[in-house]
């Protein structure tokens, strides 16, 4: 009898011990494998096809895959397609990965791809859709794991375009609305993380997908918190309320580097900050003679544009304005991207040469001009405009500065003038090459403005050179990657190097910070993707 009681007590004790140990080990693992992220910008939706916007496209990588993957340097790798090649001039063949399971357990096939292509172009109320990447392409299923894509003309950027479109499940996505993705009902992907919940403005919760076909996720759970204010994001990291943040303000980079509890990673982005100059109006609205009288627009003279480039001290902008967190630019994309020129270097700071060029062009006495720029769009954008104005004044151009919020700026910069022409004469802008190739900025910024063809869509200086147009056109139809790269480099050398169609200033550098022990691979596309975070 007594031995029985003792046995019972012992059993109870053992059981308690077991529970205690289990809970300790549970809490330890929960602590070690969870990740809390502080994001500057929250996605506007969980629906991967609702809004073609940086934060959305970066976020959807966690849950969804694309046919072609895009790594931290925007280089392609096989994702849901294992291989792709052009089989004739106008057809690309994609071989799909076998054995991929959706988060709900069903299998991934070509039908899902066809469903995706259809839906991505028809999302109701989409404020910016993926039509841009899908139109003019006819998808057809050859077998369950082969898809053909036909275009009217040879189309080399097929893989680039298809990195952007996330593949959704035909089964879960049938008749699903954007709200169904936001609530999680239809949010079934193939990616390394599964969706748990989204409380707008508060948090997004993800959990590991154990049946992911690629490299398994490091963290059991990921909690993303939007913290818009820079100082607040940094203090949340310092206080240990989050483990990882993006968009560290340049001002804080140097100080945080000293902190051995933190690990910073920085890398140049695909975004170049550059100047657009009015090259289409004889009388430019924001350029006058020094006495305020009207003059012939000096910015139309390539010598004046070249003089301006030499008047700019890019080293000073990088060191002082950007706190060293930027890379000076001599073309449209940093080295390493497809289609950049190997010959071009940033113009040297040479005010004497600038003054001489101005005199040669007949503007030895200088002129008056307003520099326009946004004040909440790019890193330190308003300060850049101010620094530029000072540098220009030193070579005889009396420059004044006007900056404004992006909500007002872009409308006026694109079509604030008469007949919806660009309003400003000289403006600070930025361009990120979403496709990861020099064709993107060349096509948008330097090709002759052609509304009907969608070329030169962001050409706010209306630079126009038939030779450049011809090179771009040829490149856009050349499927062979090396030959296209050479043509793009040649177009850049002509449009930027010779014509000074735009003047590049610097490439933005983005900085992420994590608590020590973690290391983030900086991405050129500026996305914050947890898969890029590894433990040391």
């Amino acid at each position: 009898m007594s031995s029985l009681i003792i046995g019972e007590v012992k059993m109870k004790f053992l059981r308690l011990l077991c529970i205690g140990l289990a809970s300790v080990s549970f809490s330890l693992s929960a602590y070690a494998e969870d990740l809390r992220v502080g994001l500057k910008s929250e996605p506007s939706s969980i629906d991967p096809h609702y809004h073609n916007l940086g934060p959305n496209n970066g976020f959807s990588k966690h849950i969804f895959g694309a046919l072609v993957g895009s790594d931290e340097n925007q280089q392609h790798f096989p994702d849901l397609a294992v291989s792709w090649k052009p089989i004739d001039d106008t057809t690309w063949e994609f071989k799909l990965r076998q054995g991929v399971k959706w988060h709900d357990g069903s299998s991934f096939t070509a039908d899902d791809v066809l469903f995706t292509v259809e839906r991505a172009q028809n999302v109701p109320n989409s404020p910016s859709s993926f039509v841009t990447y899908l139109k003019g392409k006819t998808f057809s299923k050859v077998d369950d794991h082969t898809v053909h894509v036909k275009t009217a003309a040879p189309y080399p950027l097929m893989p680039n375009d298809l990195t952007t479109v996330k593949i959704i499940s035909a089964k879960a996505g049938k008749d699903a609305s954007t709200e169904d993705y936001n609530s999680g009902k239809a949010t079934i992907g193939t990616g390394p993380y599964k969706f748990v919940e989204w409380v707008p403005g508060d948090r997004i919760v993800l959990t590991r997908n154990d049946s992911y076909y690629g490299k398994k996720a490091v963290f059991d759970n990921v909690i993303m918190k939007p913290i818009k204010s820079g100082p607040a994001r940094i203090s949340a990291l310092l206080a240990g309320d989050v483990d990882f943040i993006d968009n560290v303000p340049p001002l804080d980079v140097a100080r945080l580097k000293q902190d051995d509890k933190l690990q910073l990673s920085s890398g140049p982005s695909n975004r170049v900050i550059y100047l657009h100059m009015d090259q289409f109006r004889e009388a430019s609205p924001h350029v006058q003679a020094k006495d305020g009288g009207a003059i012939k627009n000096p910015l139309m003279d390539v010598r004046v544009r070249k003089a301006i480039s030499h008047a700019i001290n890019r080293d000073a902008i990088v060191a002082r304005v950007m706190e060293g967190v930027a890379v000076k630019a001599g073309q449209l994309l940093p080295a390493g991207f497809h289609g950049v020129s190997e010959k071009m270097t940033p113009d040297a700071y040479d005010p004497d040469a600038a003054k001489k060029l101005m005199a040669d062009a007949g503007y030895g006495d200088g002129f008056k001009m307003t520099v326009h720029g946004p004040n909440d769009r790019y890193i330190n954008d308003a300060k850049i405009a101010e620094a530029l104005a000072q540098m220009l004044t030193r070579v005889g151009i009396d420059a004044s500065v006007e900056t404004m919020p992006k909500s007002v700026y872009f409308k006026r910069a694109s079509r604030g003038g008469p007949d919806k022409s660009p309003e400003f004469s000289f403006m600070v802008l930025g361009w990120g090459a979403g496709s990861g190739e020099a064709s993107s900025p060349l096509k948008a910024l330097l090709h002759t403005y052609d509304k009907s063809k969608g070329l030169g869509a962001a050409n706010r200086g209306r630079h126009s050179d038939a030779a450049v147009d011809a090179l771009i056109k040829k490149a856009l139809a050349t499927v062979d990657a090396d030959a296209r790269g050479k043509l793009l480099a040649e177009a850049t050398e002509k449009a930027v190097g010779e014509n000074y169609g735009v003047i590049p200033l610097h490439y933005q550098v983005n900085t992420w910070a994590a608590k020590s022990g973690y290391k983030y691979l900086p991405r050129t596309d500026e996305y914050t993707v947890v898969m890029g975070l590894s433990k040391d």
Partner: protein, 324 residues
């Protein structure tokens, strides 16, 4: 009383209408939302589609007419950015802002009135001078800076409170709020204190000024002469008489706590309406801006009415016209 409330409600409707006209006209004059929404790589066809989808190709007067018609149906438009009804998005975030505003109002009243009355009763005391100097600081320090300072000191250095976001929520009496959990309260304290600081200072100053004035009145002298206990003199004779200006200010300030908690919500990443409105203004999400301002006007109008009714309870001399 009923006639009074009816008349005030009618006036409120007119205010709402005029406000909607001003707000709608105002937001439509600034910038172009399409530039904020669309990918820079989109071509003209896609831009045109978005303009059409958002109804921005129609004249402003027509857009306003649609807005009015929908408003009568209880819909205040659809967010350009989130694609969901603006009213739903705002209501979703209202509890977070309400609990923040209420909690900071509570802090302001619970600490402000006793401190103010004390400073009024002993105006020459060292402690009173310290309180008054402190209230000047509370008035003049910018909320953003104080918020960051609070985070640096209490979260980063001492680690007492979390620095960011809203804590766990729980549901009691049909209300889901973070004030019901310990985690929620610890998240709430710093932002509420940050938000309360300004109100706390104004309550202190009002209570002190009121006390200084009332304490010299004959009825206080009479009560004291009669031998009424000092604590009762303060509680009944003094407090009741200084409450009128304080209630007015608290009532109106509560509205501004809700409407202008934007800075605090941004610093503490508090998922409330203030953060939504500030993001919407930056991104020109017009339907949310308009819907938000309409709701705020409604809150102010209602609070004013409540304050007027409260007066009549606090001061028997105030009679609401039309009430018989």
């Amino acid at each position: 009383m009923t006639a009074f409330i009816l008349r005030r409600s009618l006036q409120s409707l007119i205010v709402l209408f005029v406000m909607s006209l001003l707000v709608f006209g105002g937001v439509n004059m600034v910038g172009d939302p399409v530039d904020m929404l669309i990918s820079p790589e989109a071509d003209q066809m896609e831009i045109d589609r978005v303009i059409r989808d958002l109804g921005l190709d129609r004249p402003v007067t027509e857009q306003y007419w649609y807005f009015l018609v929908n408003a009568f149906k209880g819909e205040l438009g659809r967010s350009f950015i989130f694609g969901e009804p603006a009213l739903k998005l705002i209501i979703q975030r209202m509890p977070a802002t309400m609990e923040l505003a209420l909690f900071s109002l509570l802090l302001a009243v619970v600490f402000g009135i006793p401190l103010g009355v004390y400073a009024g009763l002993k105006p020459e005391g060292k402690l009173s001078r310290t309180i008054m100097a402190g209230s000047i600081l509370g008035f003049s320090m910018p909320t953003f800076w104080v918020g960051i300072l609070l985070i640096m000191f209490f979260s980063v250095n001492l680690g007492w409170f979390p620095s960011t976001g809203r804590g766990e929520t729980a549901t009691y009496f049909g209300m889901t709020s973070s004030i019901f959990t310990a985690d929620g309260l610890s998240h709430l304290f710093l932002p509420a204190f940050n938000l309360a600081l300004f109100k706390l200072s104004s309550v202190i100053r009002l209570a002190r000024a009121g006390t200084r004035e009332v304490i010299l009145q004959d009825y206080i002298k009479f009560a004291r002469a009669k031998g009424v206990q000092e604590s009762r003199v303060i509680r009944v004779h003094l407090l009741k008489n200084i409450m009128i200006p304080i209630v007015t200010v608290i009532g109106l300030e509560f509205g501004s706590l809700i409407a202008f908690s934007t800075v605090t919500e941004t610093v503490f990443a508090w998922p409330g309406m203030g953060k939504l409105i500030i993001d919407s203004i930056y991104n020109l999400d017009r339907p949310i801006i308009v819907a938000y301002l309409m709701i705020i006007v409604l809150i102010f109008v209602t609070l004013n009415l409540v304050v007027d009714i409260l007066y009549s309870f606090l001061d028997p001399r105030v009679r609401i016209k039309g009430a018989k």
